[in-house]
Amino acid sequence: MSDRYDVSEAEIQAWADGRLEAARRAEVEAWLAAHADEAERASAYRNLNEELRARYDAVLQEPVPARLERTARRGARWRSLGLAAGWALLGIAVGVVAGWQLRAVQAPAPRAAQPEAPPIVRRAALAHATYAPEVRHPVEVGADQEQHLVAWLSKRMGGEVRAPKLDGEGMALVGGRLLPGETGPVAQFMYQCARGRRVTLYVRTEAPDHRETAFRYARENNVRVFYWIDRTFGYALSSADLERDELLKLANVAYRQLNP
């Protein structure tokens, strides 16, 4: 049969990677629809990407061996010492302010005696570790379509979902995505600073009989998480890039916007 479209092997690969422009993708898909063997092959390639992620993303969650961290910091010891002292001071300042504002900030459990994290923390940290490292596809809907994104997620979540503005803290909205949760759809918003450090806000619907909670902190491997529950939603703000105090500052801003 004569083909209406010429599709190269490179384009089949690019289709599997989701890297074709929309118009070309439609043409390639039309071609695949007429070529069952090639369609099966292309789908297998696409699945392989997912299987690789499913297998190896867990490595992102593993604690970093001390020897690697030492090597990464080599040559910058004095600078990092100064930096650490700076963060510690800032941390104390932020902590005092946050404690006064929220009153119910829980003292974080010492790391050695950390109790098992609640499900929202584990799921939020996992979702963060899965999508925050993405270079090309960090979100499903970008911040350029923020209205659409928020309307779509609100519709699927069955309640008005909002993406807090963190621009004042140097964190711009990248976009968001819908994820499967334990009891229904979950929303994830992603933010990024100019240096490429990322934070995600995980939002899930809470059962009507739940109790509102104060701010809580947990650490799931290398992902730090602040979480709280209000009348309708449970929120978890996660980052593997930010220090606890930086994250707390962002959590405060988000909390105040979401619970005016």
């Binding site: 297998a44 392989l48 270079v135």
Partner: protein
Amino acid sequence: MSDAQSLVELIPRLRRYARALVGERAAADDLVQDTLERAWSKLHLYRRGTDLRAWLFTVMHNVHVNRLRAARPADPLEDEMPELAQRATQGDALMVRDLERAVAALPDAQRQVLLLVALEDLSYEETAQALEIPIGTVMSRLARAREKVRQLMYGKGGTKLQVVK
């Protein structure tokens, strides 16, 4: 952010790639450690403002290649091998369903391309730069790598690997 902090933050991603590349945890972490050491000694070669992560993959690639050279002679033909030569292995009925084993069975050059694209989500251009090869070679290695893994995992021996024009 300091260079040290940037490097620390990228460790989990380097570890993910290294784990998939060499398989075993200790060996993978050794590769990451050597990469970090080399990155410090070569930091003056890193161009500010470009993607540090992509540059680190280049460094890791060089470290990895040097280790392989030290361990065994490289196979210069692995890239030029015609499709037919690969297809001859179908008769072995290798039903390697396990993803790790299928990926491990790839020639090193193909495995690197597959992992940088599919796992690390580097663009084809970034992959070409990281591995210091032309983009056409990226695409051909990617195609071969995927087809081989597919055959190993699902035993698609009978499918015709026609060249699609």
